[in-house]
Point group: C2
Amino acid sequence: MNLGERKKEILRAVIDRYVDTAEPVGSKAIASALPRSVSPATIRNEMAELESLGLLEQPHTSAGRIPTALGYRIYVNELMRRHRMSIEEAEDINRALTRRVAELDRLISYAGKLASRVTALPAYALSVAPPDVTAMRFDLILVDANTFIVVVMLTGDTVKNKLVHLPTVVNQETLTRLGALLNANFTGVPDAGITSALLDSTARAAGDTQGLTAVVAEFLIELLQAPPHGDAHFTGELNLFGYPEYRDVNKAQRLIEYLSDESELLRLPTPKGGDLAKITIGPENLAEELRDSSVVVARYDMGGDAQLLLGVVGPTRMDYSKVITRLEYIARGIATLLSGEQTSGLPPGATHAGIPPHTINTGQDKDDKGQRSDDSG
Amino acid sequence: MNLGERKKEILRAVIDRYVDTAEPVGSKAIASALPRSVSPATIRNEMAELESLGLLEQPHTSAGRIPTALGYRIYVNELMRRHRMSIEEAEDINRALTRRVAELDRLISYAGKLASRVTALPAYALSVAPPDVTAMRFDLILVDANTFIVVVMLTGDTVKNKLVHLPTVVNQETLTRLGALLNANFTGVPDAGITSALLDSTARAAGDTQGLTAVVAEFLIELLQAPPHGDAHFTGELNLFGYPEYRDVNKAQRLIEYLSDESELLRLPTPKGGDLAKITIGPENLAEELRDSSVVVARYDMGGDAQLLLGVVGPTRMDYSKVITRLEYIARGIATLLSGEQTSGLPPGATHAGIPPHTINTGQDKDDKGQRSDDSG
DNA sequence: CGTTAGCACTCGCACGCTTCGAGTGCTAAA
DNA sequence: TTTAGCACTCGAAGCGTGCGAGTGCTAACG
C-alpha cells in the first residue's frame, strides 16, 4: 500500500483518535490535530480517497470516519509508533513478577492475570510444551499394606504424583522390582510407545499380578497426554465490559464463552518463524467468534521447543502499540524467570533498561506481503 | 409471622409468579392463579395489607406488587413448596458426577461448575478442610548430584511434591538420614509446631549443613498454611448476565469482582449446627456487595471436621426451592464420592431414589426465630 | 492544479408531547 | 366480607421536532 505522506498522517491521526474515543472522527478534529496546517475541506478530500481505498468507512453519511480492518492493518504494519513504557510502568511489572516464583502452572496463569491487568483486556497464557514430554524417572513409595505413591518426574523438571489405594495387599519387593522395571522400560518413552505388549512384559517381569503396572501406566499416559500441548489459562473476562463495542452483553458473552474453552485457546493465532508477536485484526481471524475482535499474541521461546504465548483479545479498536509492548515485556520477564535462576530478583534481560529495541512483527497469514517495520520513533 | 391462610396463598402466588417473570404482579393475575375463586378487588385489599406488613411493595403507584426481602424470608421459611427433581435431572447430575473422579481440588472445582450449570447461577465451592492438616510421611528422592524431590503425604490422602535444585552436592546418606528424621520429628506437627529450635536440632542430627532441612520445612509450612482453610472456587459468573436485575453491567461486575476474591468466599454465610443449607436473602447479607443479591449454600460433612460447601449467588428473585434441592443433591453426591470408593459409579446415597426427604434449613442469623418446616407437599 | 471557503444536505440523537394500558385505591352496593 | 364500578396514576412506547456534527459539492483563489 503506497500512500502519500499526508494520507498516512491522516490515517494515523484518525486511528489514534478513534482508539481513544471510540467515536467516528471528523475532518475538523483531524485538521487541528495534524502538525501541518490544512483546512478541514482538504482533509475531507483525502478522507474520501482513503475511504475509496478501503481504509476508512463511515457508519452513516453525516458521521465521521472510522478505520476499517484493512486500515488497522496498514496502521499496524507501517504507521504505528512504537510505544515505550514508562519507567514506573516497567517497574510495576517487574515488581509484580518478582513476587511470584512458584510452580510453572501457577506462574503461567499469573502471567495471564498480569497481562490482563496491564492491558485492561481479557488475556490468556499458554505454555506450549515441547511435544516430546516423557518420563525421566519413577519412584514407587509404599505407604501401607494397600497404599502406595507413584512419583513421576517428567522432562522439564516437572514432578507429578498420585496416591493409589488398592483392594489388595502389596509388598515392598514387588514395588521395588516394578519401580526398577519402569525406570528401565518407560523412561524416555512417548505416549505412543506405551503398548500393551510393553505393559504385559513389564508386569510379568515384575511379578505384578495386581494390575499395578496398568495403574501406573494409565497415570503416565494421562500425564503425557493431558495438556494436549501445554497449559491454557484465560482471565480478565470482565475487562471486556469496559469497552463500548461490547456494550451488548450477549456479544461479550459469546466471546467470553468461546475463549473459555481451553482447546479454542490453543487454536488462536501464533507468531511463527522469526516473529515475536502477532496481531490479528477482526476479520483476519479464522474463528467466526473473533471476527470483530482482535488478538495480540507475544511469543517467547524458553529453550528447547518450549514456548510461552501470552495474548489478549479485545476490540479491533485497541491500542496495539501499548498492548504489544506490554505483552512482550511480560513474556520476556516470565520466560527469563523460568529459564533463569529459581531465586527471586528479576533477571537482567527483563529490566527496563535492558530491553533492546526489537522488531514489531505483525504477520498476517493471508495476503500478508511480508511487510515489517522497525519503527523506532 | 401469623398470616391468614388466604394471605399466605396470595404471598406465595405473588412470589412464584414474580420469580418467573421478574415483573410486578397485579391483582388480576393472582385472582386467576388462586385455586379458590375471588375477585381482583379482594386480592387488592389483601395485597394492601401484605404491603403494610412489609412483605410486598410497589415499585410505583400504578404497578403491581413485588416481594420484599422479608416477604422472601417468610416464603422460604414457611410457604415454599419443596422442589422435587425430575428423574431425568437427577440422572443428568449423576452422570456428570460419575464421569469425574480426580484429585480433590479438581473435584471440588468441578462441583462448582456443575452447580453453576444446573442452577444457571454463579456458583462457588469450598472444601473447608479440618484445620489440623499435618504431614503423615516424608520421602526424599535423590535425582542427581544436586537435585532431589521432596514428597510429602498429608492427612486427607493428599500428596504433594517439590523438585529442589541445590547449588551444592547432596549425597544419598544425608538424604536418607534427613528423611528418617523428618518422619520422626515433623509428622503430625501443625504449622505452629515447626519452630526454629526443632529445625536446628533436626538439621544437626541429619548432618545437614546445606540448608536442606530449611528448604523442606519451608515447603511444608507452605502446604500447611496455603489454602487458609480449604480451596475456594468460583465459576459461572456469566450466568449473572442472564438476569434482568443485573442488566446494569457495572452492578454485575462489582458483584463478580467481589466474589472473585477467594478470601471473600470464605466469609460467605455458612449453615451452622444441624442445618444442611442456608439461604441469605438480600439485606440479610452482611457484605455490602451482596445486599441486593441472595446466597444459597448447601453444606455436607465429609467425616472429621471436613466440610463441603456448595453455594450460588443470584438475584433475590431466584427459585430458592429448585436451587437448594440441586445444590444439596450435588453436595451429597460429591461428598459421597470423596468419602466412598475411589472407583466410579455413584454411591447409593446419591441416587435419585436413595435421597431421603430432608429438612429445609434456612437459618437466618438475626431475628431468626428458629422457624423450620419440613414441607413435603 | 491543489487548496479552501461556502453552502445545502443528511442523519442520528435528545427532547418533549401524547397515547395507551395495566394496575391501583376508594366508594358504595350486594 | 366481598365485589363491581370508577377515577386516577404513572411508566412505556410511539412520534414529531430541532439541533448539531459532519459530509459532498461547487466555485473561487494562489
